[in-house]
Amino acid sequence: MKLEDLKKIREKMEKSTNLREGKGRIKAVVGMGTCGIAAGARDVLSALMDEISKRNLSDIVVTQSGCRGLCDVEPIIDVYEEGKQMVTYGNLTPEKTRRIVAEHFVNGSTVTELVISSK
């Protein structure tokens, strides 16, 4: 990689605000096994990151996991929130994912019709 490119990247980083703090209030895990990827998990993960960064949310941690064996309802996102049940959203699309960010992560209400299980 070119030194000037790395310099530019460093400068962008110095200017960025609202970086994530601590462990996060919410952890969202996208299933990225074969079935998930084939069903569109990459676009879901991409929409999730895009929406969170656009809204400047700095208390959400996004990660991925391998196949969870829920192949027929992929793409899925597991949402962990302190003091609450884990919620699994399934059959997702980028649009539905953006709704989860707005309604669940920002407004605090689970998007019931997209939930496939909770425990």
């Binding site: 990247i9 460093r10 990225m32 990827i37 993960l45 196949c67």
Partner: protein
């Protein structure tokens, strides 16, 4: 899978699950395009390797349905377009998966949105570093996640803001490859 970029994401995911700390991805585009994914993960013994190409084999036990489809799917797609598929593995050393496709074959899969795949790999898999090299004709780009982490001063590239900086950079680099014909 719809294209090679999705296969690459899937095959690299195997590397990460096999505890790789470094994965090298190479794409060399031409009439015959070649692809390589090489990792330093735990590798496979002969028995596992043989079974890995069988669609109903997986060593992953956490799931209900015991099927592993990633490698057999790729092999099938490669062979459909007169390509060659090869996997080599040494226990304790790592695994490399290589394949070629004849791009003029009607069934050959396009490369697809490779910048999206590289971005997700580099920013969402915290304990693994990736290098990505993409050649097409006389153009070549090369991206190292380790160098990005050093420039950004953090290993946590999955921070949404940081991740987007990486995404923009990968896109910029991929544009160098894609604007090839216009130049």
């Amino acid at each position: 899978m719809r294209d090679m970029s999705l296969h690459i994401l899937d095959i690299a995911e195997n590397s990460v699950r096999a505890q790789a700390t470094k994965v090298d991805i190479l794409i060399d585009e031409g009439e015959i395009s070649s692809f390589m994914i090489k990792d330093n993960g735990k590798g496979m013994d002969e028995e596992t390797l043989k079974n890995a190409l069988n669609p109903f084999y997986t060593t992953k036990t956490e799931r209900k349905k015991k099927i592993g489809l990633g490698l057999p799917l790729l092999k099938q797609n490669v062979e459909l377009c007169d390509g060659k598929f090869r996997i080599e593995s040494v226990p304790g050393k790592g695994t490399s998966v290589k394949w070629t496709v004849n791009t003029s074959h009607i069934d050959s899969l396009p490369v697809g949105n490779i910048e999206e795949t590289v971005w997700i790999l580099m920013t969402m898999y915290e304990n693994c570093d990736f290098s990505f090299t993409h050649r097409a004709g006389k153009k070549e780009i090369s991206i190292e996640s380790r160098e990005l982490k050093e420039a950004l001063g953090t290993d946590e590239l999955n921070d949404p803001k940081v991740s987007m900086i990486v995404k923009d950079y990968i896109k910029e680099q991929e544009n160098i490859i894609n604007n090839q014909e216009a130049l």
